[in-house]
């Protein structure tokens, strides 16, 4: 009984704030608001429409591209830094750890405002430097570049967070596991590759899955950069931006709900795929 009493406050809130809205979204996604005749049941029509909707598909494609480039770069840097910290070979260890983490304390909205100014041609330092060297200012916000500029903002903000997660996992490896290898003369790289990295695969999987979930949900950064780069970032740039626009600009919550559901299915499928790949690799070893 106590178990129910203790978990009840959370579960009730969870049901009201997660389960009910989700169920309602599922319900909404099966209907359509028509100009004539009001709201009618259309079954899976909204989903069928979404699957051939270039706005939705290109948004998902863009996020997939974002994912395959940004996530490995970010997590690779995090892992490298975590291993360097854990090797105990750094001076100023604490200062460096905190410095890399610090961007995480900055809300993504403000990070984007800041990077937006840094990227800008008016008074961004990159443009100023280029000008003083007589070079054309780099256009970070042009159509072909802006996705990479967004990747940079996300990477900047989250390398430190993931580094701390991995570092904490590294610290919990019992030293006996690799002391022997060191005595035998194994290099620090060899120890890292053969002992440390396999020992923290749980943390690596966790950070990968959270990064996958975050990537597909991208909204804040592109939505704010749109203000200064409207030509490069459309209203359907990411699936979440598209759902937002459908729901609050076009007043089509039914179709927006279907888009959001499909996005959830994509996220689940990719997360599951990541987990499956990790498990299979584990067996192969």
């Amino acid at each position: 009984m106590a178990a129910y009493a203790l978990s009840m406050p959370f579960m009730v809130t969870f049901i009201l704030m997660v389960a009910v809205p989700l169920g309602y979204a599922g319900y909404l996604s099966l209907f359509k608001k028509q100009l004539i005749g009001g709201i009618s049941f259309v079954g899976m029509d909204n989903y069928a429409r979404a699957l051939t909707d270039p706005s939705f598909l290109s948004g998902v494609g863009r996020m997939a591209l974002f994912l395959v480039i940004q996530v490995p770069v970010m997590l690779g840097l995090s892992l490298l830094f975590a291993l360097i910290l854990d090797s105990g070979m750094l001076r100023l260890q604490k200062f460096i750890r905190l410095g890399v983490f610090l961007p995480y304390a900055i809300p993504s909205v403000i990070a984007t405002l800041m990077w937006g100014y840094l990227y800008g041609k008016d008074f961004g330092p990159f443009a100023q430097l280029a000008k003083s060297l007589g070079l054309p200012a780099p256009d970070f916000l042009a159509g072909g570049n802006v996705l990479f500029s967004i990747m940079n903002i996300v990477t900047w903000g989250f390398v430190g967070y993931n580094m701390i997660v991995m570092y904490a996992a590294l610290r919990s490896i019992p030293a006996e596991l690799y002391e022997a290898a060191r005595v035998d003369g194994a290099s620090e790289w060899r120890v890292a590759w053969s002992i440390k990295i396999p020992a923290i695969k749980g943390a690596l999987l966790l950070t990968t899955i959270f990064s996958v979930i975050g990537s597909f949900q991208l909204f804040n950064e592109p939505n704010l950069l749109r203000v200064i780069a409207p030509a490069a970032i459309g209203q359907d740039y990411t699936p979440n931006m598209y759902a937002f626009q459908l729901s609050f600009v076009n007043q089509d919550a039914n179709y927006a709900a279907a888009i959001a559901f499909l996005l959830g299915i994509v996220i689940m499928a990719v997360s599951y795929g990541v987990q499956l790949t990790a498990n299979r690799r584990e067996k192969a070893l």
Partner: protein, 302 residues
């Protein structure tokens, strides 16, 4: 996903682990290389500090990464007085939303995490799995229907519209369950039961104290999540005096980017950004042992 070690929970005491992994000594070369990397992480923040000290014209006419005429006091004055001092409302709102959501989320997660860790009850594991799965739900899939439901209940454009959905922290429940499993010995609960203490009394008078470090971690992360939240308040709130900082600053930025005589806003947006990141940076500096160990708990047992 197997845990290698950690029979004991990863509390802050781990920070004082022996210098067991000191190897052949420290490398100056590696330190210099890492300091160069650090430039990438700190330079934008340095730029923000520098830019906050400049008048609007100086932003354009002086080099971005170094100081010019000191105009910080004037900029701060502008931030706090522009549009009748609405920025002060935003700061208070951000603080209230974050503290109420954070305290609420961490209380709910602490009780539930402990229940999931220490009681075997029908539906317990299923509920826990369900909660974990919620991490993958896209925010639009929740926020759009929540908006419509709240609109029906006349809750939109009130602080509750931002606070209520923030009370659910699935990751917090996960963290608390992992932590409680180790931090609360079964023998302690058994002993209290033998002494005749009721389950609620055991939780509030004995267990809660042991869970405090992890609760603070969950509180900190719920605070951050709420402080950073943009999407939810963006759709839920209309009145500028209810906005939290990110929504308000984004609106100022849009106004300044749109031009039309509001160019003088650049330095105001920049200085406002600096002011709004200071509280969280200070919190992270002072509460280091909590977030570092808390992130570890999740990772080690993942």
């Amino acid at each position: 996903m197997t845990a290698t070690v950690a029979d004991r929970p990863a509390t802050g005491t781990q920070a004082t682990a022996p210098a067991r992994r000191r190897r052949s000594g420290r490398s100056t070369l590696l330190t210099v290389a890492m300091l160069l990397c650090l430039v990438y992480f700190l330079l934008p923040i340095f730029w923000l500090v520098v830019a906050s000290t400049k008048a609007n014209e100086d932003l354009f006419s002086s080099f971005g990464l170094w100081f010019s005429h000191m105009n910080l006091a004037e900029n701060l004055h502008n931030v706090f007085t522009f549009q009748n001092g609405v920025f002060i409302h935003w700061m208070i709102n951000s603080l209230v939303y974050a503290v109420v959501s954070g305290l609420g989320a961490s209380s709910l997660a602490t009780a539930a995490g402990y229940a999931f860790a220490k009681y075997k009850f029908p539906g317990g594991d299923a509920m826990f799995t369900l909660v974990l799965g919620a991490v993958m739900i896209p925010m639009t899939a929740l926020a759009i229907p929540t908006y419509l439901l709240f609109a029906g209940a006349n809750l939109t454009n009130t602080p509750w519209a931002v606070i209520l959905p923030s009370l659910v922290s699935p990751f917090g429940v996960y963290l608390m369950r992992v932590y409680a499993a180790d931090a609360v010995p079964d023998s302690l609960i058994e002993a209290a039961r033998v002494d005749g203490a009721g389950e609620m009394r055991i939780f509030f008078q004995i267990v809660l104290r042991l869970l405090v470090p992890a609760s603070i971690t969950v509180l900190l992360f719920a605070l951050v999540a709420s402080w950073n939240n943009y999407f939810l308040p963006l759709i839920m709130l209309n009145s500028p005096e209810l906005f939290p900082l990110p929504v308000g600053l984004a609106q100022w930025q849009a106004a300044s980017a749109a031009g039309s005589g509001s160019q003088a806003l650049f330095s105001t947006v920049i200085t406002g950004s600096l002011v709004s990141i200071l509280p969280l940076m200070a919190a992270f500096l002072f509460l280091q042992r909590y977030w570092q160990s808390g992130l570890g708990t999740g990772a080690v047992k993942a």
